[in-house]
Symmetry: C2
Subunit: 400 residues, 2 copies
């Protein structure tokens, strides 16, 4: 990181150091397509998997499972890369469809005998996820125990089913415009009864609701009074949210958000974004708090923060290289050289193969006027990875 | 598309038929990394290019150029894939950095002689984009003449420079939290003078403004009265927006949006999303209008819509395969078999290699009870591409 630019920028913000795509030959790739034969479903399933790029091979990640993978994988991967640091970095698993309307619809109604046979495979599909897919992913990728499930429309319906009947599978559930109208709301009625008796532990839900007015012309009050099919999704989701409010002591952490500018068919991207921002609202560590309150003790705030994060995720989380690096620069900005040095030193010790950690240490030594140490740090950074920025800084020092 | 599911869904929404990533071996790739030697900058530049997947090799696309490509390319590509149909499909070009603070800062101030030499290369950089990069992209990729430029922070500053001094380069400009504080607002003052005399033709600007309260603790009124560096970006952007309001007749189509939940360092994703949604608000064709107003003549509405779209983009745009397909199903839903047939027939004629076009035609024939024609259509679809959905529908017909 260039110190002069940083010092000029005034407002410190998190600049992801990670390259957005894993470069190999000249193609920019974001994941792999994987085949898994399901004994339960008696068919081969294709899952798309994104693994964050990282310099530390021991790093492990939460896993976000995305239904309708072929439609939502790319955008979801892109946003997890962009938001790395604000959200935890994640493995993204896109489950692609074979027979979508079979897998994403719940058990057949006993009252409606006209439903085609192809529907109603949701239970089998969730068994596949729990007994076959999750073990497959956990055995092949560096996962942690924290898992999320996200789905839109019929995928959202599947998410609600998993939340209430297969709660052990995931820690966080994202239901974007779930099709709770399904089966003339019979599934919804069953779900509401379940809400009355169920208790949750460390489980979160985010619901995204589109604006029915955009598609129907009816305002939201009229849409609730309407009795036609075109408002049934909105009415069903609203009824479910009322159900959630009725049982505030069941332990479920839930949020719903209404998106006035979005329709059922456009809400996926911004809904997913707001869901992950809300579900991980406790995650980001804001260095700006020290700029506004220089009296805060950085170390104790840091320890307390990661204690909370670890409790929420269910395993020990330590500050990332990027954050410690930022704290070093923040300390420099606050005129605290000893603290700054401690942060930069900690990073080169924890991540001895990181060129950026040595580059930042070099910046620190330049700032302190310790030319020989700065040259050594920049040289070490360049021995790990050649970058134009570090090279220029080294050349400038050598010229002086 | 499965007709029964569609008929059950009630709310018609746009389901992208495109797979989100171009699959080759088992890697999921979204673009290529390209090297271009710049005679003007005397260095090799790396640009990342995403080309939409499409069945029609003659298809051409607008181009979205993204500054700080290594940070914003992946998320931007993901959202253009997710929103295909709501926005036009786009080629995305991510310009990666060599010396960021050189390329993204404007000509050196005459009053500040202390600025390091490394700054102030923005003019050269924009010359490189106009004289070398755009011709390079246009010669190698299927582009149209419509171009957008997007940048954040110093990248946003570069976007504002291009808008006012290199307006011919792009049709639409996206400035996310532009660093208009640069050089003690001297660049801002020059820009404001320029706004007074400049006229624009078919040029659009979108500005995204973060909430200064989140980082500073000051509410927006106090932030405007503040005189410290930490509110200077917010104050500078607000001043520029006032400048835009002062000259309503200069022909510039502009919008600014304040994001209460976003900081300078988190606004990139949702800012880019809202920018593209706003800049292309005239683009999507909503089939729901016919459900609410069945008296509308579909063909004349369609013609008028694409006349507007073509005028805005500056070249002839025709309805996509997906839209015509949706209109076929919409006509079926409205009980208009002749119209439905016309749409499906049009698609198999325009896109004879599209399996989905034949699959939909098959759905139409099933709906009409024309079994032999339906079987022929499904068989033709399967000869183009094997899909489980079409195979199942064919098998069911053959069993009857």
């Amino acid at each position: 990181m260039n110190i002069r630019l940083w010092l000029t920028c005034w407002t410190l913000w998190f600049l992801p150091q990670l390259i957005n795509a894993q470069v190999a030959d000249n193609r920019l790739c974001v994941g792999t397509s994987n085949q898994i034969y399901s004994t339960l479903l008696k068919e081969t399933r294709t899952v798309w998997v994104h693994l964050p790029a990282h310099s530390d091979p021991k790093q492990r990640y939460p896993v976000l499972y995305v239904l309708d993978g072929e439609n939502h994988f790319g955008a979801t991967v892109g946003m997890t890369q962009q938001m790395a640091g604000v959200w935890p970095e994640m493995i993204v698993v896109g489950i692609t469809n074979t027979v979508r309307e079979r897998d994403l619809t719940p058990a057949r109604s006993t009252t409606d005998t006209h439903q085609p046979v192809v529907y109603s495979g949701q239970e089998d599909f969730l068994q596949f996820i729990g007994q076959e897919l999750i073990p497959y992913i956990d055995s092949r990728f560096p996962t942690t125990s924290y898992r999320l499930l996200s789905g839109h429309s019929l995928g959202g319906l599947t998410v609600i089913n998993a939340l209430l009947y297969n709660t052990q599978l995931f820690n966080a559930y994202i239901a974007l415009e779930p099709s709770l109208w399904w089966d003339n709301q019979q599934f919804l009625q069953a779900v509401e009864k379940k809400l009355a008796t169920k208790t949750f532990t460390n489980t979160s839900l985010f619901m995204a609701v589109a604006n029915p007015t955009l598609a129907t012309g009816l305002d939201t009050v009229r849409a609730l009074r309407d009795t036609t099919a075109k408002t049934m999704l909105y009415r069903s989701v609203t009824q479910f949210i009322k159900g959630l409010r009725r049982y505030p002591n069941n332990g479920l952490r839930w949020n719903s958000q209404f998106f006035p500018d979005e329709r059922h068919g456009t809400i996926q991207l911004v809904g997913q974004y707001k869901a992950l921002t809300t579900l991980f609202d406790y995650y980001p560590f804001r260095t700006s708090q020290f700029e506004n309150h220089p009296e805060l003790d950085m170390d104790s705030v840091l320890v307390a923060h990661y204690k909370t994060v670890s409790a929420r995720l269910g395993y020990t989380v330590l500050p990332s290289e990027e954050l410690v690096n930022n704290l070093g620069y923040t300390s420099m900005g606050l005129g605290q050289p000893q603290k700054a040095y401690a942060f930069f030193k900690r990073n080169v010790e924890t991540y001895p193969k990181s060129a950026n950690a040595y580059d930042s240490l070099g910046d620190y030594f330049v700032w302190q006027g310790e030319k020989i140490k700065a040259i050594a740090a920049f040289r070490h950074a360049l021995s790990l990875q050649e970058t134009a920025d570090t090279r220029r800084k080294l050349d400038e020092l050598l010229k002086k």
